[in-house]
């Protein structure tokens, strides 16, 4: 195998190195930075260099240990690159090296779960990639250099390519695709680097380049699919699909009072245990706004300070120990505001806005953990002094859908008419719901849409869903950022702790006050809801005061309401502008896209046309005067190759004449063998018998010319006489241009005669042959014969 003219070892190694580097580049789609790349490239280089050394130097090649050496070097490289701290003197292995690598790999695996692309390159990822690239480089190098199977090695490249395709389809750009394709192409071409086989290489190159051009060009020609915004968090949809709010009705009606979880807390009053907060209302349904989950916002590393809460006041530090039983979902139940959990693994991550903790692939069932949390306990005075918030910071929490019936706004204005500040307005709203006019009932319709809210305000019957959504939306109309906390009310006292069942499911409004943060209110007058928090109930004095003063100072209250009504308008303008500009950009982009597409299409067409044009030139050259019969014959053979009916070089001119005329099956191996066998068997052939009859008759006439008139035998008897050891005198009507050409060529080749052959005759022969070939060709062959002639790439036989 090593004797044949082959690509030198260093060239193959270079091809593998470049291919692997390109693959690594293709993989960069997954990662946010390139810190992982140098070790990977270094490992690949070492493997390839060792391979080239062991395959290039004759003494080493004879030992046949290239792969073994590569494995040893690969192992060392992995250890040195990934866990240098465990090595003695930087290169001597210790037992802990392996342990360290395995640990690194396991952190890599958990990083994998915790990551959304583009991911930072953690040591774990780097280790995984170094090992993967080391192994695959060894395999590919062996396949290319030893087994000469670059195609299989291309499949291995695709294994690596699956990583970005699988993990980060949204991040894969065309240049990544181009890189992997180039790598693939390079491996495919590696056997053709030695110049002796450039023809095959040329075919592969042209075909490959075309494939790349098509692969890149066609997608740009396709209509653009609107990209889904924020695809990355969309991928995390499994974290947000469960909308606990929608299940509340079912949960409350649940007769099963089995304990979901049990907790003990240091707080005196059991706080509501929250799952998440819901802030996005589109006029129909409430849903958690899609938040970008950062897999490295790991809950056990501590949560951020709650929004708006002062560091040193208005809160107490509490802690809670939770034991969850058969309660299986993704949100971690915890009182607001969670700070420091313990007993959770690193896949519990948090959203820093709502301080919701969710499991990234983890679920709550059977969990046991404790949580240090901050119990927000503002005083009424703190809240009173709160100033209206900056609407820009709370777009979602202030959003009031346009479809909201005016009656809701009117009611809100009416109820809060006497409020001097936002806190008073909130207190008045809560008081309005708890006034006794409203009845707690699970019979209310389940919807929480805008219409449902206005209906609720009329019917005055509902449960926590209606109460909380109505108060939230009404608070928003007043300019108070509001959202709905979803979770559980305190539960039943049991021993030292509390037991929470499905019937304790609850929802409550959370309102934001500058200087305090998110504060819970409790408008729901019954059900699992407890008493309203003390700060949400105006003390008799303040309440009356405010009422009195409200009438006097009606004007100040206009301000917030105005600002509240203005801000959504201002907001609604902004988003409406964005799409227009985006659309304008898109049309601009479309033009360039079409230009590109057109350019690529033209380039592809030109590229496609090259072989066909080259063939036309060749044909002209071969058939132009002075006619060389051999050149015409070359052209005929090229035509046969073009039409996929290559002539068998072991056949004689006259046999091939019949093949070209479509009278005899071409060089289908078995058929040819059969004919020869039949001939060799002599008299036994059944088909030959018939021809012999005809021949015998022709002979019986004793006239040489008579045989020529034996039309009945036709072509088959002509073939038989060609192949018969004894020539017969049958001459079928061979008055075609091809026949006279074959006669002339044969006489020239074997009879040493110079036959005159004009250019027009040559053209006639070529045309005749082409017509005959086209008649016997499939439509596909006919097209490819003109558009993509095979004889340009494979020398005609």
């Amino acid at each position: 195998m090593n004797n044949d003219p082959r690509t030198p070892a260093w060239l193959e190694a270079g091809a593998v190195l470049v291919a692997m580097s390109l693959t690594a580049f293709g993989l960069s789609a997954v990662f946010a930075d390139l810190k992982w790349l140098p070790p990977v490239l270094l490992a690949v280089f070492l493997i390839v260099a060792v391979g080239a050394l062991f395959r290039g130097i004759p003494v080493l090649r004879a030992s046949g240990t290239a792969v073994v050496a590569q494995c040893v070097v690969g192992l060392l490289a992995v250890l040195v690159l990934c866990v240098p701290q465990t090595l003695l003197l930087g290169f001597v292995l210790t037992g802990s090296s392996f342990v360290a690598v395995i640990e690194l790999l396991s952190t890599g695996v958990s990083d994998l779960y915790a990551t959304t692309p583009p991911a930072p390159s953690t040591p774990g990822f780097t280790a995984m990639l170094v090992i993967a690239f080391t192994l695959i480089t060894i395999l590919i190098d062996g396949l290319v250099a030893d087994l000469r199977a670059p195609k299989v090695s291309g499949v291995l490249l695709l294994v690596l390519w699956m990583i970005p395709v699988f993990f980060a389809p949204a991040q894969v750009m065309w240049w990544h695709v181009a890189a992997i394709l180039a790598a693939f192409l390079l491996l495919m071409l590696s056997p053709y680097f030695s110049s002796a086989r450039w023809r095959g290489g040329l075919t592969a190159l042209v075909a490959g380049a075309l494939a790349v051009a098509l692969g890149l060009g066609i997608p740009t020609l396709l209509p653009q699919v609107p990209t889904i915004e924020n695809r990355a968090s969309g991928n995390q949809a499994d974290l947000t699909v469960t909308n606990p709010f929608l299940d509340l009705r079912a949960d409350l009606g649940n007769r099963d009072d089995s304990t979901l979880f049990h907790y003990t807390t240091t707080a005196e009053d059991p706080p509501p245990v929250r799952l998440t907060s819901i802030d996005s209302f589109d006029g129909q349904t409430w849903a958690p706004s899609p938040f970008e989950l950062d897999p490295f916002a790991i809950a056990v590393e501590g949560l951020p300070w709650p929004q708006g809460l002062p560091r040193d006041e208005k809160h107490t530090e509490q802690s809670i120990d939770v034991t969850i039983g058969d309660y299986d979902q993704q949100y971690l139940p915890t009182p607001y505001a969670p700070q420091q959990p313990s007993g959770l693994n690193r896949r519990w991550i948090y959203d820093e806005d709502s301080l919701t903790i969710v499991g990234n692939g983890e679920r709550t069932s059977g969990l046991e953990y404790s949580m240090d949390y901050l119990s927000v306990e503002p005083s009424a005075e703190d809240l009173q002094s709160a100033t209206p918030v900056d609407a820009g910071e709370f777009e979602t929490e202030l959003e009031v859908p346009a479809s909201l019936p005016q009656s809701v706004r009117d009611t809100a204005d009416e109820v809060t008419a006497g409020a001097k500040n936002q806190w008073e307005a909130a207190v008045l709203l809560q008081a309005y719901f708890r006034s006794g006019e409203f009845e707690y009932s699970l019979d209310a319709p389940e919807q929480a849409s805008g219409d449902a809210i206005s209906d609720f305000l009329v019917d005055k019957k509902g449960y926590c869903v209606q109460f909380s959504s109505a108060m939230t939306i009404m608070a928003r109309t007043m300019g108070i950022p509001a959202r709905i906390g979803v979770g559980f009310a305190g539960g039943e006292k049991s021993g030292e702790g509390y037991e929470v069942s499905m019937q304790d499911s609850h929802a409550w409004p959370e309102l934001y006050f500058e200087g305090v943060g998110w504060v819970r209110f409790e408008p729901t007058p019954g059900g699992p809801a407890g008493a309203p928090p003390q700060w949400s109930v105006a003390s008799g004095d303040t309440g009356e005061e405010s009422e009195e003063e409200a009438e006097e100072t009606a004007s100040p209250s206009e301000e917030p309401s105005e600002s509240a009504s203005q801000s959504p308008a201002a907001e609604s303008e902004a988003p409406s502008e964005e799409p227009t500009t985006a659309a304008a950009e898109e049309t601009g982009a479309d033009h360039t896209t079409y230009l590109w597409a057109a350019a690529i299409a033209i380039a592809v067409i030109l590229l496609l046309a090259v072989p066909g044009l080259w063939r036309l030139l060749q044909r002209r050259r071969r058939t132009s005067a002075p006619v060389d019969l051999e050149h015409v014959w070359t052209e005929i053979r090229a035509l046969a190759t073009d039409y996929g009916q290559s002539l068998d070089p072991s056949r004689t001119l006259r046999f091939n004449e019949l093949v070209l005329a479509g009278k005899v099956a071409g060089d289908a191996g078995a058929g040819a063998g059969a004919t020869r066998d039949a001939r060799a068997e002599g008299d036994a052939g059944a088909g030959a018998g018939a021809t012999r009859d005809a021949r015998a008759e022709g002979d019986a006439t004793g006239d040489t010319g008579a045989g020529a008139k034996q039309a009945g035998g036709g072509e088959s008897s002509y073939l038989a006489s060609l192949q018969s050891p004894v020539p017969t005198l049958i001459r079928p009507d061979r008055d075609t241009a091809l026949a006279s050409f074959i006669d002339a060529l044969e006489a020239q080749r074997y009879g040493s005669r110079d036959e005159e052959f004009s250019s027009s005759e040559a053209h006639a022969v070529v045309d005749e042959v082409r017509t005959a070939l086209a008649d016997n060709a499939t439509p596909g062959q006919r097209i490819s014969a003109v558009a993509w002639p095979a004889s340009v790439f494979n020398a005609p036989r």
């Binding site: 072991s650 060799a680 008299d683 050891p725 074997y750």
Partner: protein, 329 residues
């Protein structure tokens, strides 16, 4: 019909008229022989090709298919002397080539020609003779002469041996060694006639002696002239290269233990020239080579899987399918 002697003797460049003359001569002989042998046209044609090419024929077949009849018919149509030697295990070389006898009257040894001194020698069942006798016979074939007691006697011209041989698995036979088989230009198997021909054959053989109806259609002079013309049929270098590559391929074929000898190539070219003349051509083409190769080369090779004539012909066919006809094609 005759043709000017000088033209054929002196002019090496032969013309279409010479070829046509050979063609017609052969066609007549063929028709006459076909009248004797029903449906054996290939064997008849090949025998005539051998006659024109100056070779010898080995007919290999089971008994009773008309081997001897073919040889006799050929002798009859060319109007030459025909001798038949029935080879038996106790046949001595002197029984074939002749012997020096002491003449009491002249007090000298006189050479008495053996049956081999004839234009057409039918060596019937040559594989029944002992190897010693076989080799005496084969020397005559190869050298066209016989040497007895130091004196060399030339064979008459034309001289053609039509040897018949039973297939080697028949009892009481000494298979011809490869070296001796190589001396035959062509090995042909007659095979059983087709049913139709056999029905006619039954009728004809009983009604009259088939040989009786055969008349000479040419004389020895004409045969010699025709041989001369055939020798001058041209073979281009390209064609000779083709023959050599075929021979080479048989030598390098893993399925063939012993490939063709160079003599095989010589015989192939000579036979091809005869076939070209019969086709009306003044030059040999690859068609001639391809159609004759199985008959000319098959008995010269030893297949790895047993010395079987059908297998050998099949192998030659495969070799032909591998060798490109022309280097610039």
């Amino acid at each position: 019909m005759s043709i000017s002697h000088e033209a054929t003797q002196t002019n090496s460049a032969i013309g279409a008229e010479h070829i046509e003359w050979v063609q017609q001569l052969t066609a007549r002989a063929r028709t006459a022989m076909n009248a004797v042998l029903e449906g054996k046209d290939d064997a008849v044609g090949l025998s005539l090709i051998t006659l024109l090419a100056g070779g010898h024929v080995l007919l290999e077949d089971v008994p009773g298919v008309g081997k001897t009849l073919l040889a006799k018919a050929m002798g009859k149509v060319v109007d030459g002397s025909v001798r038949r030697i029935q080879f038996t295990p106790d046949l001595l070389p002197t029984d074939v080539v002749g012997v020096n006898l002491f003449n009491q009257e002249t007090r000298h040894f006189e050479f008495r020609q053996g049956p081999v001194f004839a234009n057409i020698v039918i060596a019937d069942e040559i594989n029944r003779a002992s190897p010693k006798t076989q080799s005496a016979m084969l020397e005559c074939m190869a050298e066209n002469q016989a040497t007895i007691d130091g004196t060399t006697y030339p064979m008459p011209s034309p001289f053609i041996v039509v040897a018949t041989q039973n297939p080697i698995d028949m009892e009481g036979t000494y298979a011809l060694p490869e070296a001796q088989r190589d001396r035959f230009m062509i090995r042909v198997s007659l095979g059983y006639p087709r049913a139709q021909d056999e029905v006619d054959l039954l009728d004809n053989q009983i009604a009259h002696d088939p040989l009786g109806s055969a008349q000479p259609v040419s004389n020895l002079e004409q045969i010699t002239q025709a041989r001369d013309i055939v020798r001058h049929v041209s073979a281009s270098r390209q064609l000779r290269e083709y023959i050599v590559s075929i021979l080479d391929a048989t030598r390098n074929d893993p399925a063939i233990v012993l490939g063709c000898s160079p003599r095989g190539g010589v015989h192939l070219l000579r036979a091809a020239k005869a076939r070209a003349a019969l086709s009306g051509r003044t030059y040999v083409t690859p068609d001639d080579i391809q159609s004759l190769a199985p008959f000319v080369l098959a008995h010269r090779i030893i297949p790895r899987d047993g010395d079987d004539s059908e297998l050998a012909a099949d192998l030659i066919g495969r070799v032909l399918g591998r060798v490109p006809v022309s280097t610039n094609q």
